[in-house]
Symmetry: C2
Subunit: 175 residues, 2 copies
């Protein structure tokens, strides 16, 4: 699969996953893709914890409570550190977003599906904080997102997007 | 080139570019890759302006002044709109960062080089604002980044990164 094919094939998958475990070597390839993303002034603000041990996954499920479902045979948790880069500005949100997108594309290329799970774990219920506590993440890291990884059980859906010429122009704003 | 190869091959290129123009069809492929990135609740907050007209490029160079160099035979400017997505939170920085990463990977796959130019145009000199004014970008869009696109004239450099096991772990924080 070319990069463009993987990029275009990616979608936010919210269906069920097969129980089939994800081999460690595939998780490593996905995480390496994430860590290859650029970071502001090479501050490398993004770190990752993959969870593929069923006991740890169940522990996380208990930690977040019954209102929220963590699905998939493996997940990759995204940690960020607010380290100033250029002129005291932190680019850590940019950094981890680029890392997440690389991982989502790598996940598709390797035959899996995923979904960027962030808003639901960083809102007022602070599920990300509960997950971080369970995984013994130190205070100077924030767990902001997790990506389920697994083989899709259900059909993929692609969101409707505005046409190209409503979002992209040449040599000046044209809307 | 597979997605993983393009992701690993990407680097922040700060050298010179050949004058060879970038065909419009390649710019469109790159921009499409950017617009394929996910956005919080599908708000599609990212828009793009490619500049490949030498007169417009020169106009931009004049607009930002002689202290800053816009290089490359083409550039892609990244615009963002702060549209609330989930629970009134804006994810537009996440959205455009994912779009930029997709474009950087597509640029490598198509044989070009680039660099994420953001901090230097959004700092106190507000060069991004000057570029936006010249391109007639409305007030509700912010020009936050541009990506040069072209064939590299100089050798590529890859930054040193921390080893995998200092940034990635399995089933718990392990540092």
């Amino acid at each position: 699969m070319t990069a463009l094919e993987a990029i275009k094939g990616r979608t936010s998958y919210r269906g069920g996953y097969e129980d089939t475990p994800v081999p460690r070597e595939d998780l490593i390839k996905i995480m390496e893709a994430g860590l290859c993303a650029p970071s502001g002034c090479n501050t490398q603000t993004t770190s990752l914890i993959a969870v593929d041990d069923p006991d740890v996954l169940n522990g996380l499920r208990k930690a977040v409570g019954p209102e929220f479902t963590i699905s998939g045979p493996a997940i990759i948790c995204v940690l960020t550190q607010a380290i100033p880069a250029y002129k005291n500005t932190c680019f850590n949100v940019h950094d981890y977003s680029a890392a997440i997108e690389n991982m989502l594309v790598a996940i598709v290329e390797l035959g899996y599906q995923s979904c960027w799970m962030e808003g639901v774990i960083t809102d007022e219920h602070q599920l990300g904080k509960k997950m971080a506590n369970y995984l013994k993440v130190p205070e100077d890291y924030e767990l902001v997102c997790f990506l389920p990884v697994g083989i899709a059980k259900d059909p993929l859906n692609y969101v409707q997007r505005k046409p190209f010429n409503e979002r992209a122009w040449f040599n000046g704003f044209k809307k």
